[in-house]
């Protein structure tokens, strides 16, 4: 027998009250843990996807939309920019690297991105099979695309207009041949189909004009008339020389890109480059770091509201523990008196009450953490197939450690008054009760 066993026996003697207290504590901490996991992974994913990209250049419009469409591949692009902009930036001494992006089509919900090999390097990608695209109409798949659709080297896929689902016009006249599959990187690249810019242009070449309807629900604007208007939507340049991986780029004047991912050569670029780009008509420059932070702060309001709700649950749990201990103390006043008569000091008796509060709080919190992680994992698996955010419960967020401390504090505060009453209890009077 010891203090711990005695406390456990007390808890087991009133299982329903103990269970209710544990449940309340678990609900509060579980809710907060789930939100911490969600917020942390959202933030981490946003940070990871934007890592190494100093600036994104695209058509005028919302900078956040530009970042969402070009870095996270979530929103529709703001429009097109002339390919000349890429050439100008590459010639700029402040710029170390420019990675072009040509968007417009998707393969069963996965965006087909016309780009260069440097895009793969940006995300630290390595090949798990085959090679990177080289010739026109060759594609290299992100790991998740290949895995989900069971694609292999040599298979052919066809893109469809639009950036979301596959309900747009299908380019069955221009299939892509899969030449490589990338290893998982844990970034947005896993969900993309990568090809050359030239391939994207080729698919939308006027020679391939089939008179299709572009109203596919994705604000798709297929500019076969070589219109360089930079309206809201996206388009493709349709003529020009090859701009793909390993090829010299000799673009014609009217070719277009969707966006450019820019890496600075020096920090000075951050001061000068965005300003000069924004001064050009039809162009805008957006910093992923800034826009991501802005987005997280907007999302953060919602997350904070939910966290506050979790906090209220936690406080309710604290009140529950207090009421439970207070009532238990009244029921156990004879137990307390007997324990004192058997030699326990007032300090030990109040320590037993504090220990009980701590046990309820910590076990409830551990159950809540386990429940929060389980819920995160289940939600992650449930939404995993359809959403860009990867949510897992199989990770530990450092701030969860604070939850244990906070819960311990709540358990302590909830037990303080009952412990004080136990400390001051008049044992002689209680033992004399007939």
């Amino acid at each position: 027998m010891n203090a711990f066993r005695l406390t456990l026996n007390w808890l087991r003697f009133r299982p329903l009250t103990a269970l209710l207290n544990l449940l309340l504590m678990a609900l509060g901490t579980g809710t907060i843990a789930l939100l911490l996991l969600y917020g942390h992974q959202l933030d981490r994913q946003f940070t990871r996807d934007a890592e190494g990209i100093d600036l994104v250049v695209g058509a005028s419009g919302s900078p956040l939309q530009l970042i969402l469409s070009s870095v996270y591949h979530l929103d529709v692009p703001t429009g097109n920019i002339p390919e000349q902009a890429a050439r100008d930036l590459r010639d700029n001494r402040l710029v170390r690297e420019v990675i072009p992006l040509a968007l417009g089509d998707n393969y069963r919900g996965h965006r087909i991105v016309g780009t260069e090999a440097s895009f793969v390097d940006l995300y630290g990608g390595t090949l798990s099979d085959g090679r990177l695209w080289e010739g026109s109409m060759e594609a290299t798949l992100g790991a998740e695309v290949a895995a989900r659709h069971g694609l292999a080297i040599g298979d052919e896929i066809v893109g469809a207009h639009g950036l979301g689902g596959g309900d747009g016009h299908v380019h069955d006249y221009a299939p892509y041949t899969i030449v490589g599959i990338l290893a998982p990187t844990g970034t947005v690249m896993d969900r993309l189909v990568l090809t050359s810019v030239q391939s994207v242009w080729d698919v939308h070449d006027p020679d391939h004009d089939h008179g299709h309807d572009h109203e596919n629900g994705h604000q798709h604007e297929h500019e076969h008339e070589h219109d360089h208007g930079h309206g809201h939507g996206h388009g493709h340049a349709h003529e020009g020389e090859h701009a793909g991986h390993g090829h010299e780029h000799e673009a014609a004047e009217d070719q277009e890109l969707t966006a450019l991912l820019v890496r600075y050569r020096s920090p000075m670029a951050a001061m000068q480059l965005p300003r000069s780009i924004n001064a050009e008509p039809g162009l805008q420059a957006a910093a992923p770091a800034y826009e991501s932070a802005r987005l997280m702060s907007m999302l953060g309001v919602g997350l904070d509201t939910l966290k506050a709700f979790g906090g209220i649950l936690l406080l309710a749990a604290g009140v529950g523990v207090f009421i439970g201990l207070y009532n238990a103390l009244r029921e156990r006043r004879h137990d307390i008196a007997v324990i004192r008569s058997l030699g326990a000091s007032p300090r030990l008796v109040s320590g037993l009450i504090l220990l009980e509060g701590q046990l309820l709080a910590l076990v409830g919190t551990l159950l809540g953490l386990a429940g929060g992680h389980l819920a995160a994992e289940l939600i992650g698996r449930w939404i995993g197939a359809d959403r860009p955010l990867e949510l897992t419960g199989l990770m530990w967020v450092p701030s969860e450690g604070w939850l244990l401390l906070i819960a311990s504090g709540i358990g302590l505060v909830a037990a303080l008054l009952p412990a004080w009453q136990a400390y001051r209890s008049d044992i002689a009077l209680t033992l004399s009760e007939r």
Binding site: M1, N2, R5, L6, N9, W10, R12, F13, H334, D335, A337, V338, I339, R340, S341, L342, G343, A344, S345, P346, R347, L348, I427, A428, L431, S432, E433, R434
Partner: protein
Amino acid sequence: MLQIKDLAYRYRDGQPLHFPDWRAEAGEHWWLSGPSGTGKTTLLHLLAGLLSPSSGAVRVNEQTITDFPSAARDRFRGRHIGLVFQRLHLLPALTVAANLELARYLAGLPRDHARIEQVLERLGLADLAGRRAHQLSQGQAQRVAIARAVVNRPSILLADEPTASLDDENARRVAELLCEQAAACRATLVVASHDTRLARWLPHRLDLAEGRVAA
């Protein structure tokens, strides 16, 4: 050995109680008698160190426990004084054996399953060791309360109205058990009671109504 000298206790409402000087030797069995309100239970609590006197001293085994700091008095009580209450006061969340283990733990004594088994055996409780206190009959609970009081081999065994509301047969059993167990520990037994049936087993008597040691 148990001794009180110039002992007085004042309740919060100001009512003072004065107790006669008295000494009980090791192994003696005493009956603390007197009608209600004469301070039998109060004296028992003073002897156990559960109450602090307003004046005077309580000496147990030549040690003045009224001079002890509170924590030391608690420890001393756990180790040297066994208590049996009228309402038994077993811990219902614990088994019979665990109630006895608790007494050893709170007295700061090491685990001793052999001693617990021995006491339970002696009191005819061996088969009930794993039963919870609230599953016991009144008679069984009474025996467990006595077992818990003697498990630490106390030098003083105090009992407060242990036979109240018991019929003659059960009162006899309880009185005999108390005497047997006190004798087994060579403890001074002091029973506070207004039950005159106890006179048969308790040869020494301190009558608080008359303030003197009775023959």
